[in-house]
């Protein structure tokens, strides 16, 4: 097993058994180190060597015959960095909350599973990690969640995602049996192809399976309540990185195996994705709970990414690549802001907030930068991805593109409404004794704000990284269609 998988597992197992006093420092140190390590892997990554994966070496034997490989391609490397980023922030946010050791153990176990998902080059191995990722997050959200009817909400979350996973398993079994290829290695799978009804079934199964996790429009009903009732760390793990698993799954396990683009399916999924985009944005407009606004904004943003992927264009792939990274960064920032507000004032309802900017000017500035990033103002990191995605959808179908464009306006509306109500105006009762934001929090938020600006000014670094990968997929689809 390569270091990127082995280390988190070891750290997780250690964290479970550490006494409560030590585990906080231990986890923060290791997650920080992992993040630096991931940056190192990123810099070592050779951008010329794209969809041909960088193999590490043999990982497991899982009874499927043959050896299973792990490796990262350019998208995988981005997601690997993002995973470490989100886990680091989960640890930072947990600093003042006196969680028990099992929390930290679960975060690292989560990291192990997520890295596994992004690095698996074998379908069964992928499924293995995909399912494994569900357990620690379930434990975290249930154990430290709050609100009414926890059991109902989280059983719904679990059952939704588990049933989704079974669809994925069904799709892989279908692939293996129909193509008579004994192997689940991606390189072997890419040599064979599905036809006719089998391809339609395979596509439907995978879209449902991944769509639950993303979530795509009609499958989203677990999302809002789960985000709301989960602890802040659980929410950022869910929104920052777990939904990327679904998007990544579409790019890795569905697109390359499309024998031919099926126009009807493509249009159906695109329409659903854009309906989801608008639906999320409209729902976010009138919410009172900050976490719900963020949850619905996430639904909206992700819908656009799915739409971009399913245009099957170079621009769409490029946009989805950068947007997956950026959405991860921004949503972590926004949930972090909400967490700070909740810790300082004891509430996260807009009606009870107001005038934070007069109490905590630096915090408010940083929050504003991150919110601008989420709105996708030019020169912030949200802009390039959103622009590419919208352009790609527009080229596919101008009407859909125009509809999708509406979300930019709606996004600005609900985000600015949130900022206005919470940060501007009269100082409300609960804000009047606003506890000062700690230096750690400011530095952590400042780093996100820095990323918002840096990636906004120089997105080319990310785009260069994913360019060959996107080009590969575009060529593949064009080749198969002609």
């Amino acid at each position: 097993m390569h270091l990127i998988l082995l280390l988190p597992l070891l750290v997780a197992l250690t964290a479970f058994f550490l006494p409560k006093k030590l585990v906080r420092e231990f986890s923060l140190a290791f997650s920080g180190a992992f993040f630096l390590f991931s940056i190192y892997v990123l810099t070592q990554y050779n951008p010329m060597n794209h969809y041909n994966f960088t193999y590490f070496h043999e990982a497991f034997l899982v009874g499927t015959g043959g050896s299973l490989h792990i490796g990262l391609d350019s998208l995988g490397v981005l997601m690997f960095v993002l995973t470490n980023f989100v886990v680091l922030y989960a640890n930072i946010m947990a600093w003042n909350k006196s969680y028990s050791s099992s929390f930290y153990g679960c975060t690292f176990l989560m990291q192990f599973a997520l890295v596994g998902v992004f690095a698996s080059l074998n379908a069964i191995l992928f499924y293995f990690f995909w399912e494994l990722a569900l357990l620690p997050i379930y434990y975290i959200v249930y154990k430290w969640g709050n609100g009414k009817d926890l059991s109902k909400t989280f059983i719904r979350f679990f059952v939704y995602t588990f049933v989704g996973s079974l669809f994925i398993l069904a799709a892989f079994i279908l692939f293996a049996v129909e193509t008579k290829s004994g192997s689940f290695e991606i390189t072997e799978m890419a040599k064979t192809s599905l036809t006719g009804n089998t391809q339609i079934l395979y596509t439907i199964f995978l879209v449902i399976g991944f769509g639950v996790k993303i979530p795509i429009f009609p499958l989203h009903s677990w999302q809002a309540n789960t985000y709301r009732k989960a602890p802040a760390e659980g929410t950022i793990l869910l929104s920052g990185i777990m939904l990327k698993m679904g998007l990544f799954g579409l790019l890795r396990w569905l697109i390359p195996f499309q024998e031919e683009v099926l126009p009807l399916m493509q249009k159906l999924i695109l329409v659903l994705a854009i309906v989801g985009t608008l639906y999320g944005a409209i729902l976010a407009l009138r919410r009172n709970d900050l976490k719900l606004i963020a949850a619905f904004s996430s639904l909206s943003h992700v819908g656009l990414i799915v739409a971009g992927i399913f245009t099957f264009k170079f621009l769409g792939f490029q946009g989805s690549g950068i947007q997956m990274l950026v959405h991860g960064i921004n949503i972590v920032g926004i949930f972090y802001i909400i967490d700070i507000i909740e810790r300082s004032t004891g509430t996260r309802y807009l009606t009870e907030l107001g005038g934070i900017s007069s109490k905590a000017p630096i915090f408010s500035t940083l929050a504003f930068i991150i919110i601008l990033g989420s709105i996708a103002v030019p020169l912030t990191n949200g802009f390039p991805g959103e622009f590419l995605l919208l352009m790609s959808v527009f080229f596919y179908n101008p009407i859909l593109g125009a509809l999708a464009g509406v979300t930019v306006i709606l996004g600005a509306t609900y985000m600015l409404r949130m900022f206005q109500r919470a940060f501007m105006g009269e100082v409300s009762e609960s804000v009047s004794d606003f506890k000062p934001v700690s230096k750690t929090d400011l530095i952590a938020l400042g780093f996100i704000a820095l990323l918002v600006i840096v990636l906004g000014i120089y997105p080319q670094a990310v785009l260069d990284l994913t360019a060959n990968s996107s080009q590969y997929m575009t060529n593949l689809l064009e080749l198969k269609n002609n």
């Binding site: 497991f60 034997l61 899982v62 009874g63 069964i124 499924y127 293995f128 990690f129 399912e131 494994l132 357990l135 434990y139 249930y142 154990k143 926890l150 059991s151 059983i155 679990f158 059952v159 588990f162 049933v163 079974l166 398993l169 069904a170 079994i173 279908l174 293996a176 049996v177």
Partner: protein, 461 residues
């Protein structure tokens, strides 16, 4: 044969240990007996006690005997004598006798052996089920099991008689030859007899619609007996089914596929749905075992269609191991009364070892990756897909529904506040055994080939 003899003698001796005041004597005697039997199997001692037409040492027999003996050993080791005035020597000796029957079934070459094995396996079980003499539920379980089991035995005997009447022999190879000679033109009596035999074994496996006894018996019996029934006895009856379908009636594939498919499907549905509404943990697990045994039966059918016997052997192995874990933990939690879901509340705070062990056992039953249950389920599912798409969908759906009740169990363990006193593990031997079992389940899930190849190398060398 020697193995059976050793177990039988140990059982007899154990029965008389109740004369001695030493409470743990029967336990250690039983463990010694099992270890001796394992040694005899390992050294392949025969002492000239072979009757090939009666009892044959197939490779499968050897593998499964070892597994059965190890399971029995673990049951003995983990046994917690919670009722002091209880006569444990009888329980241990009856379990040993029943295991003799199971091993006889594992090596059957003859319909008479089949009948003998089933009876030797079942009669001690009737007594065991009723062995909590001061509890009405236990007595009810024993009586119910006895009456229904006798019916099943009568069916079995009737079926054997009909098959004997048409083929003229009890011996497996002769029956197959008779079917081959007739070229599928055997009289209808043969098919009736064959259906009677299969139905009685389906009863022993507790598959729908022959399952009605199982929740009551699981619930009423002492937990150690339930453990024994879900592990050792299930292996005995499943392997019997394998011999019936692959040995005695191997030419009737089309007929029995048509006959078994509805049974498998109904078991998937009932096992998943009825488990959802149970508050009694043992009843819930009884329903879960129905759908698991349906998977085993599917594996047996597939082992003929795909020529791969490892499917169902692996499933049986992981299922019995995980249910051994789960039932042993429940045995430790209960205080001689029925275990409801409430009794599991907050177990993780009270006894983390028991909680994690139970959780991994349950996850394996649910078929979550990194446990053996996933690999087993995945392999059977891949097989089913090749046979019938709708059955595949049904099997997946049943796993998805079943996750509902497994999750309820897990939620109780980890997220609920403690409502009553739980028992913590004090004995270090128990902790070690539990850990070994848990690690086994995880290794079966991560490196299944290691264990499978180990088994093959050891026994087929």
């Amino acid at each position: 044969m020697l193995t059976i003899l050793i177990l039988f003698i140990t059982g007899l001796v154990t029965m008389f240990t109740s004369f001695f005041p030493h409470k743990s004597l029967p336990k250690y005697l039983g463990i010694t007996g099992i270890l001796t039997a394992l040694l005899a199997l390992h050294l392949r001692l025969g002492l000239g006690l072979d009757f090939p037409a009666f009892f044959t040492m197939f490779p499968l027999t050897r593998i499964m005997s070892v597994i059965v003996l190890i399971l029995l050993l673990v049951i003995f080791v983990l046994q917690r004598s919670y009722e002091k005035e209880y006569d444990w020597s009888a329980v241990y000796s009856l379990m040993l006798f029943s295991t003799c029957g199971v091993i006889l079934l594992l090596g059957q070459a003859n319909l008479l052996t089949l009948f003998l094995g089933i009876e030797i396996m079942s009669i001690p079980l009737y007594v065991l089920a009723a062995s909590k003499r001061n509890q009405a539920t236990s007595l009810e379980a024993g009586l119910k099991y006895f009456i229904l089991g006798s019916f099943a035995s009568a069916f079995l005997l009737f079926g054997i008689a009909l098959v004997y009447g048409t083929t003229g022999s009890f011996i497996m190879n002769d029956i197959v030859t008779a079917q081959n000679i007739s070229g599928g033109q055997l009289p209808a009596y043969f098919h009736i007899g064959y259906i009677f035999i299969i139905a009685s074994i389906l009863f022993k496996m507790a598959l729908a619609p022959f399952h009605f006894w199982s929740p009551d018996v699981y619930d009423g019996s002492p937990t150690v007996v339930t453990t024994f029934m879900t592990t050792v006895v299930k292996i005995g009856s499943s392997i019997t089914m394998y011999y019936l379908l692959v040995g005695y009636f191997r030419n009737q594939f089309e007929i029995y596929f048509k006959f078994l498919m509805p049974i498998i499907c109904v078991s998937f549905i009932l096992g998943a749905i009825l488990g959802l509404v149970q508050n009694n943990v043992k009843r819930m697990l009884a329903y879960s075992s129905i759908s698991h045994i349906a998977f085993v039966l599917t594996g047996i059918v597939l082992s003929i269609a795909l020529q791969d016997m490892s499917l169902f052997v692996f499933y049986l192995l992981t299922y019995t191991t995980s249910s051994l874990i789960v039932f042993s933990v429940i045995d430790h939690i209960e205080n001689g009364n029925t275990v409801f879901l409430d009794h599991l509340n907050g177990l993780s705070k009270h006894s983390p070892i028991l909680a994690v062990t139970l959780a991994i056992g349950v996850l394996s039953m649910a078929g979550i990756p990194f446990t053996g249950g996933f690999i087993a389920k995945y392999r059977v599912l891949t097989g089913i897909y090749q046979i019938n798409g709708w059955m595949f969908a049904l099997a997946l759906l049943s796993s998805a529904v079943a996750i509902g009740y497994y999750l309820r169990l897990l939620n109780r363990i980890f997220f609920y506040e403690k409502t009553q006193e739980n028992v913590a593990i004090k004995n270090i031997l128990l902790a070690i055994t539990m850990t070994i079992l848990t690690v086994t389940i995880v290794i079966l899930g991560i490196l299944p080939e290691l264990i499978l190849q180990g088994i093959y190398k050891y026994f087929l060398a």
